[in-house]
Amino acid sequence: MTAPLTPRAPQAPRLDGGDAGLTRRHARDRAMTVLLATVMAITLAVLAWVLVYVAAQGLKYLGPAFFTQTPPGNPAQVGGGYANGIIGSLIIVGIATVISVPVGIAAAIAIIEYPGRLGAATSFVTDVLVGVPSIVTGAFVYALWVTRFGYSGLAGSIALAIIMLPLVIRGTAEMLRLVPVALREASSALGVTRARTIVSVVLPAARAGITTGVMLAVARAMGETAPLLLTTLGNSLFIQANPTQRMSTLSLQIFGDAITGFQSAQARAWAGALTLILIVLILYIAARLTGRRLTLTRS
């Protein structure tokens, strides 16, 4: 038994801040504010440093020719560009996106909208897949695909799709979970079927978030190198736009040039790194803009 609460003894309230407890609380408040602001500043500084450094190094070499030329046959030579890598990256990641996004969104819908055994199993497999190192995925595709059909852009796409899939599922599921029950009920109450509610009400409401999730997966795939070494191998000599053949990608070219030790090659690698960041940025902005236009004009 605790004593019942009774009103405090009548006393003029102190509003001047002279109370020692209050002073301590103010001090703690200020200390925490300073601490959090410092941590945030450090985080932003690291990010800014990476961006500025890559931009500074990349801009030394980046020029129009970088987007139209292939690298010189001898990496020690100055000049040339990553045209074949840019085309390869866009094609390989494009195919991987086309494979992984529909499957990933469908899996996220299964997890969130149809909870049960299937959803729980999908969720578990997703968590396991997230933790698989990308080189292992590359080795898996090597064993199953490359040993039979040889190195190709398509094999790289399959490996990247497997890497993107859990990211798309997680990002989408997170966004679907945020869509209020009230919207689903409003749709149900109009006599709209559950499937139609998901397609026409829930997914559009989550569209911006899903786009962000997909773009994170795309960005990750753009930078993946290890699985591509085992699947598409690279092709630095000429522009190859046929995904059934060996292809180069930006990440492979950056890797290849960065490890040579030649200053000329490393300059190209920095320019390639900056290009990679720019491509991801442009794709992200484009995706957000199209998403918004779709939302406003769909009739």
Binding site: L190, V192, V201, P204, A205, R298
Partner: protein
């Protein structure tokens, strides 16, 4: 009216009021018990809701009045673990009998919620037309959307305020306007019954009065059932009032009495009703 055959549900171009004097939209609830994961929210409820009248459900929090409302359009069953026993007859058809599709039932029994919930990605016009656009294919093709949108917004008393900005997002309206938009959205699918779950509790007094005036207008065409915490509101808008109560937390709710609103507030038959409406409990 058929609840099982969507093909026969092709509406005319505009939300046509049910002809005067018909019984379309009569709700008869009997022996109804609704549960969440085997835990009953209320037991043994019997009540009839007549077309052309407003039935108010009042009672303290947790008495199951919202759940009762959600049983009338089967929305209760969309909650995982939910179940019902007993019958809910909509014009003589038990909506919980096998072979009845609850999705189809909801095209006859519309619902307005406590908080205005327009679809955020849709314009005002698209919100109103949502039930038709997302409905069965036959309806989508047969309906002349522009007319339905104008008719429904007129019925909800919103047309004059929004006719020049139908392509603006539904969320750009004020709270009271959003709630009337939700009413228009429900009316667009031409239900016979309109359920309202505390439709004014998130609104300011002026918007509340507008909605109450609207309810009085709508009852000429629809069976209206309204859950409210506000007894003055029940007195103002309803013809029949049902009082529900609950003995304690976790206990199932009970329907105490149903009477004409005037009678229930002036000469309640049960002591529990007297205590509640005089403010002794709840």
């Amino acid at each position: 009216m058929s609840l099982t055959d969507p093909a026969s549900q092709v509406p005319s171009a505009s939300p046509q009021p049910a002809p005067q004097g018909t019984t379309a939209g009569r709700i008869e609830v009997s022996g109804l018990t609704a549960s969440y994961r085997r835990r009953p929210a209320f037991t043994g409820v019997a009540i009839t809701m007549e077309p052309g009248k407003v039935t108010a459900l009042i009672g303290p929090s947790g008495c199951g009045k919202s759940t009762l409302l959600r049983c009338i359009n089967g929305l209760h069953m969309t909650v995982p673990g939910a179940s019902v026993t007993g019958t809910v007859l909509l014009d003589g058809t038990d909506i919980y009998s096998p072979g009845v599709d609850l999705v189809q039932v909801r095209r006859h029994v519309g619902m307005v919620f406590q908080r205005p919930n327009p679809f955020p990605t849709m314009s005002i016009a698209q919100n109103v037309a949502a039930g038709l656009r997302l409905g069965p294919r036959q309806q989508r093709r047969a309906a002349r959307l522009d007319e339905v949108i104008e008719r429904s917004l007129n019925q909800a008393g919103l047309w004059e305020e929004v006719k020049d900005r139908l392509d603006k997002p539904g969320g750009s309206l004020s709270g009271g306007q959003q709630q009337r938009l939700c009413i228009a959205r429900s009316l667009a699918v031409q239900p016979q019954v309109l359920l309202m779950d505390e439709p004014c509790s998130a609104l300011d007094p002026v918007s509340t009065l507008v909605i109450e005036g609207l309810i009085t207008e709508l009852k000429k065409t629809y069976t209206v059932v309204i859950v409210t915490h506000n007894m003055q509101q029940a007195e103002r808008v309803s013809d029949v009032t049902a009082f529900m109560t609950v003995n304690g937390p976790g206990e199932p709710g009970q329907l105490v009495e149903v009477a004409s609103t005037r009678e229930l507030f002036s000469q309640p038959a049960e002591k529990a009703t007297v205590d509640y409406i005089t403010g002794k409990v709840g």
